[in-house]
């Protein structure tokens, strides 16, 4: 089976600062891929580069190939012009971005906004569009009558559902959701995650879920890629990565999450903060914060398979056992 999406050697520069620095990713049809990492690691930039939505001050290179099931020729996104991308966005790939629920037009009714998105891409009779809107709202768990409302008449959770309905309006095969539940409460978050899961099942939708919340990713995704300082440092099936992480960064991130029923003492935090993209450390980018760093780490580690289907960019992987961490000495450890 050929991948729905294949990204190879993606680089994004802002001036001479590498924000994304050689990212390879693939998504199979119907698969949910989680992209994890902290602010500034390049996960949102990766998504925007894929949609070619980066401001002109950014330059991007690398190949991005999309193979939608209903299209014969693969689409080479990197060669598409803005006009060409407009045929792709919403139609084949939709993006639900962070805080998207606040990006609904405040002076247009919800159904009107969905109709606009549909009419932009296809010629459909008004009656059909109306029927589709009702269907879409039902799919995302809203009553069609809510279509007559304005954004301010909806709750946060309802607005997020409308955004998802908008993303689905032209029946794309891939939806990218960037922190779709970050502004929501646990209960609402659970509802939205359940909705995304159901949509995958019903519509065979592939999903790239971007989040700093590892708990959210673990419950929703098949595979996960952990980013640090513009690169993927670990990737693999979600269960493997969570039960046996192979990169010290993943390991420490997981350790710093309290898990109900687990140990109640918080693990020592990762000292310091991520490096400035304009001032990257030599060799492994996690080296200055890594408790296991050694001389070898001054060489840049490649992302390589270290366990079946699981890859890590660490010289010492595979890690069978994690020795007790000696705290890395970081100058001015305050994050």
């Amino acid at each position: 089976m050929s991948a729905l999406l294949e990204i190879s050697g993606l680089r994004v520069h802002h001036g001479d600062r590498p924000i994304v620095d050689g990212v390879d990713l693939s998504v199979q049809p119907g698969e949910a891929l989680g992209l994890a990492g902290e602010s500034g690691c390049g996960k949102t930039t990766t998504a925007l580069a894929l949609m070619k939505l980066l401001p002109a001050t950014f330059t991007q290179s690398g190949t991005m190939t999309l193979r939608p099931p209903n299209v014969e020729e693969p689409i080479n996104l990197e060669r598409r012009t803005e006009a060409g991308m407009q045929q792709v966005r919403w139609r084949h790939v939709s993006l639900v971005f962070q805080g998207a629920m606040n990006s609904l037009d405040p002076v247009k009714r919800v159904d009107h906004q969905i109709a606009q998105a549909i009419n932009l891409h296809e010629r459909a009779a008004a009656g059909d569009v109306r029927a589709r809107i009702g269907e879409l709202l039902t799919t995302v768990g809203l009553t069609p009558a809510l279509g007559r409302r304005y954004a301010h008449q909806l709750s946060g959770g309802q607005r997020q559902r409308v955004m998802i309905a908008l993303a689905l309006a032209c029946r794309p095969s891939l939806v990218i959701a960037d922190e779709p539940t970050t502004a929501l409460d646990v209960v609402m978050q659970a509802q939205i995650l359940e909705l995304l899961e159901r949509l995958r099942e019903q519509l065979g939708l592939a999903l790239i879920l971007i989040s700093h919340d590892l708990g959210v990713l673990s419950e929703t995704c098949d595979r996960i890629a952990v980013m640090y300082a513009g690169r993927i440092v670990e990737t693999g099936p979600v269960r493997e990565v969570f039960s046996a992480p192979q990169h010290p960064y993943t390991k420490r991130l997981l350790d710093s999450l309290p898990v109900i029923g687990g140990p109640r003492t918080l693990a020592p935090p990762i000292p310091g903060g991520p490096p400035d993209p304009g001032d990257l450390p030599a060799g492994c980018r996690f080296r200055p914060r890594c408790p296991y760093a050694a001389e070898k780490c001054l060489e840049d580690p490649a992302l390589r398979e270290v366990r079946p289907a699981q890859a890590a960019a660490c010289h010492f992987a595979p890690w069978v056992e994690w020795p007790p961490a000696q705290e890395a000495a970081v100058e001015g450890a305050a994050g």
Binding site: E38, S39, S155, G157, D185, V186, V187, M188, Q189, A190, Q191, L193, E194, H212, D213, L214, G215, V216, S218, E219, R239, F242, S243, R252, L253, L254, S256, L257, P258, V259, I260, G261, R264, T265, L266, A267, P268, P269, I270, P271, G273, G332, A333, A334, G335
Partner: protein
């Protein structure tokens, strides 16, 4: 850790209403709560449940509509009492980007509470330095910086330092880490835990993050629509919740490493606090409601859990159906 009997702060039947366009929002609707000395007390609930309003009312930042707040046994009412209170209890907020004056240097920001409280003496600078040390910021490097020269985590540390400079007994933390990244979050939590260990600083920790509340707090109060619906030892409340609402909240927490599970998220949304349902305020969403739940407003009742109270008729020996779980 000395937990003496006189609580640091206490609320009795506290209510805070807001009026707008002839509607009354009952944000806090009859809360009684004890915050003991040296204790980490967690207040959890969904947004809109009134947890932040409760915190602000405790500090006198919002006037109570009814009920009382006491600190060390003395009523907190009137300006002198509030001024006195803020010497002992300080507060930090969620957004470290909005709480610091962008035109002031760290040295000025941290010293400000000393000036506001009219604390005289030439040791201001020494106290500011000590406060910065306590939060893990080297005074030499940070005293002269402006907020825009700091990362999110550093800003929150500065906010904590400014709260600490008066050497308070208690610190109210309103979602102090929910805007921060995982690794920065862990650093800030470590600072707070260390402060409580070294200085016996009591923390009132407001959060919607149940895993965090579970790992950090001694006791927990769960709020729903302006009311505490369950309270007790943090571990017991999360691991053996006695109120159907707490049970639903805990079930909604995503758990890393757990098998993908079939969940039944609580349906519906938090009702508007202008129209609180009659009877038990949770009954329209409750999966376990029974006959009188729509008519009887349950008080906090004893449960099988030691020291654990729940405002649910399932724990009322006279009204509960026989099959009490």
């Amino acid at each position: 850790m000395s937990v003496t009997t006189a609580p640091l702060m206490e609320a009795r039947d506290l209510a805070v209403n807001f009026r707008a366009r002839r509607k009354v929002t009952r944000a806090v609707d009859g809360v009684s709560l004890e915050w003991r000395r040296g204790e980490i007390l967690g207040v959890v609930g969904e947004s809109g449940c009134g947890k932040s309003t409760l915190a602000r009312a405790l500090l006198g930042l919002l006037p109570p509509t009814a009920g009382s707040v006491t600190s060390g046994g003395a009523a907190v009412q009137g300006k002198p009492a509030l001024r006195q209170l803020r010497r002992h209890v300080q507060m930090i907020f969620q957004d470290p980007y909005q709480t610091l004056n962008p035109r002031q240097r760290v040295a000025t920001i941290v010293a400000e509470p000393l000036i506001v409280q009219g604390i005289s003496g030439g040791d201001h600078e020494a106290r500011v330095r000590r406060a910065l040390d306590d939060v893990g910021l080297e005074p030499e490097r940070f005293l002269d910086r402006y907020p825009h020269q700091l990362s999110g985590g550093q800003r929150q540390r500065v906010a904590i330092a400014a709260a600490l400079v008066l050497e308070p007994d208690g610190l109210i933390c309103d979602e102090p880490v929910s805007m921060l990244d995982v690794s920065v979050r862990a650093q800030i939590l470590q600072v707070l835990i260390e402060l409580r260990r070294q200085r016996d600083l009591a923390l009132l920790f407001i959060t919607h993050d149940l895993s965090l509340a579970w790992s950090l707090c001694d006791r927990l109060a769960v709020m729903y629509l302006g009311r505490i619906v369950e309270q007790g030892p943090a571990v017991d409340v999360i691991e053996r919740p006695q109120h159907p609402y707490t049970q639903a909240l805990v079930a909604a927490v995503p758990v890393p490493s757990e098998q993908a599970r079939i969940r039944e998220p609580l349906s519906g949304e938090l009702p508007d606090a202008t129209s609180i349902p009659p009877g038990c305020r949770f009954h329209p969403r409750c999966p376990r409601r029974f006959e009188p739940c729509d008519r009887v407003d349950p008080p906090l009742l004893a449960t099988p859990g030691k020291g654990q109270l729940a405002a649910c008729l399932l724990h009322d020996p006279e009204l509960a159906p026989d099959a009490v779980a």
